[in-house]
Amino acid sequence: MKEVIKAIGNVFISMPKGLFVTFKHLFIKPVTLDYPKQKNPMSPRYRGKHYLERYDDGTERCVCCGLCAAACPADAIYMEPDETEKGERCAKVYEINLLRCIFCGFCEEACPEEAIFLGQEYEFSAGDRDSFIWTKEEMLVQHPRKDNPLKRVIRRVRKVYGVTDKVK
């Protein structure tokens, strides 16, 4: 009998209290975003789509040393070396297979030339499997970086590691 009374008490006292909590939320600003129109900014360390850096004069930073491919736990990176006209090493082929990539960021950490970074872009769905193989041309940043939206981000990512182009 005692339990029944307690249960009835619960129904009439505790349940309205709970309902009040839900009701309160009608007047709280929603936390959801109207996604394609509004986007949450990602943190500076966010590991999204890869991009390959250039020096300020436009030459590619990547020298095809293969450390990123060695560090990759998913074996997603494939590269073939080549030489430029000046006799410098560069990458002839540089491909990342997105379908294998796990976005762990090990390539970014391994790169001794500061060439590969994981950017902020996270919308790269596609309809066919071939477009998930990113080539060097797709990943290299545009040369005059003036109108490159990634520029701000690059500086911030560099800051994470505390490295600048200036030689100490």
Partner: protein, 393 residues
């Protein structure tokens, strides 16, 4: 021909309340469960074998994927085991930061559990609130490691990067908000008659059974056995923290709910202490040839550059021997058994997955109860599948 009195029903593998692909073969007499047999193996990941074929540092991202709700705990368990094998001492700051991050994962995992368990029992808004608060923790992960779920932030010998500048501010805000909102959750569920009717006296499990089935974590403590590896066998500097081990003597799903809420509170307490007392220092141990040197060093120092290349291409060699390191993950005792054979790859990696071992309690919890309470029992075990079926080979 005799008439069969019981009816056998397949619950799952594609059932929303089984949290993945669990199949339970339930034998029913009317509405009472006579026999329940969980069938695992629908999701085999083979993570242990994958880890054995990789260098030590490359095996780390696999641990994230064992339990997607508690990535930092898994990282921590693996790193502690490798550090034990290699005999590496990490700086004091790393220990404190790791404790803070591991407790964040506990809050994260328990919040998801709370939301999904309440949803299984018919409380929809609880799920939305729990996921809203979880977002705060996920944001901290993102600021630290760069990824929202598969962080790989805790590394062998330290952390991947320095803690972000606004880490303290974010954690303090998170602690404040979740403390406040926990009261809301309790208003919604603790005295809710529907919730009480669905959970009190349901999924009973005695302390004796719990010990015999070698259960761990909230499931064991929910049966009145105060065993917590953080207290009993402290790792990563847990002995410096002041917290209570939550125990519930009621042995039912309601008790486990109250226990997990209390655990969230205790975790927040630990987080606060860790933030308050975080010592200054490097974020990585200085062990040349094993731990990566800081990135700025490799640009200007020859030795650092050589070690950087050597560690990344060859990995580091671990001595011959076996270690077992267990940590208290949100689901229970998560143990890593690693055998090194003097090469750069582990010879054997064995994971003690808490979800798999805790699932063994399901028949004991269900048998004799009602069919609808099977959902409640599965929910109160708190299973995560990735780690679970890893064991079934």
């Amino acid at each position: 021909m005799s008439i069969q009195k019981t009816m056998t029903i397949n619950m799952g593998p594609q059932h929303p309340s089984t949290h993945g692909v669990l199949r339970v073969v339930v034998e029913l007499d009317g509405e009472t469960v006579v026999k329940a047999r969980p069938v695992v193996g629908y999701l085999h990941t083979g993570i242990e074998k994958t880890m054995e074929s990789k260098l030590y540092y490359k095996a780390l991202p696999c641990t994230d994927r064992m339990d997607y709700l508690a990535p930092m705990s898994n990282n921590l368990g693996f790193c502690l085991a490798v550090e034990k094998l290699m005999d590496i001492e990490v700086p004091e700051k790393v220990k404190w930061a790791r404790v803070c991050l591991a407790e964040l994962t506990r809050v994260n995992s328990h919040l998801v559990w709370l939301g999904t368990h309440a949803l299984d029992l018919g409380a929809m808004s609880m799920l939305l609130y729990a996921f809203r608060e979880r977002e705060l923790i996920i944001d901290i992960y993102e600021a630290c490691g760069g990824q929202r779920m598969m962080t790989s932030y805790i590394r062998v010998g330290g952390l991947a990067h320095e803690l972000p500048k606004d880490f303290e501010k974010k954690v303090r805000k998170m602690i404040k908000v979740i403390r406040e909102r926990l009261n809301d959750y309790e208003t919604l569920l603790t005295n809710n008659e529907i919730f009480i009717q669905r959970t009190r006296g349901v999924a009973l499990l005695s302390a004796e059974d719990a010990i015999n089935l070698s259960l761990s974590g909230p499931l064991l403590r929910g049966s009145g056995v105060a065993r917590d590896l953080r207290k009993d066998n402290p790792y990563s500097g847990y002995e410096n923290f002041d917290f209570d081990v939550a125990v519930s003597n009621s042995c039912d799903a309601y008790g486990r709910y109250l226990l997990r809420i209390e655990e969230i509170r205790q975790s927040l307490r630990i987080c606060e202490q860790a933030i308050d007392g975080m010592p200054e220092g490097p974020y990585r141990a200085h062990v040349p040839g094993v731990v990566l040197p800081p990135k700025e060093d490799i640009m200007y120092k020859m030795e650092s550059m050589i070690f950087h290349f050597k560690i990344i291409t060859e990995g580091f060699k671990a001595p011959t021997g076996s270690v077992y390191q267990a940590i208290e993950s949100p689901k229970g005792e998560l143990g890593f058994f690693i055998t090194g054979d003097g090469t750069t790859q582990p010879r054997r990696v064995r994971v003690r997955p808490p979800s798999f071992i805790n699932l063994a309690a399901l028949p004991k919890m269900c048998e004799g109860g009602l069919f609808s309470d099977v959902v409640c029992a599965i929910g109160s075990i708190d299973i995560v599948w990735e780690k679970l079926t890893d064991d079934v080979v």
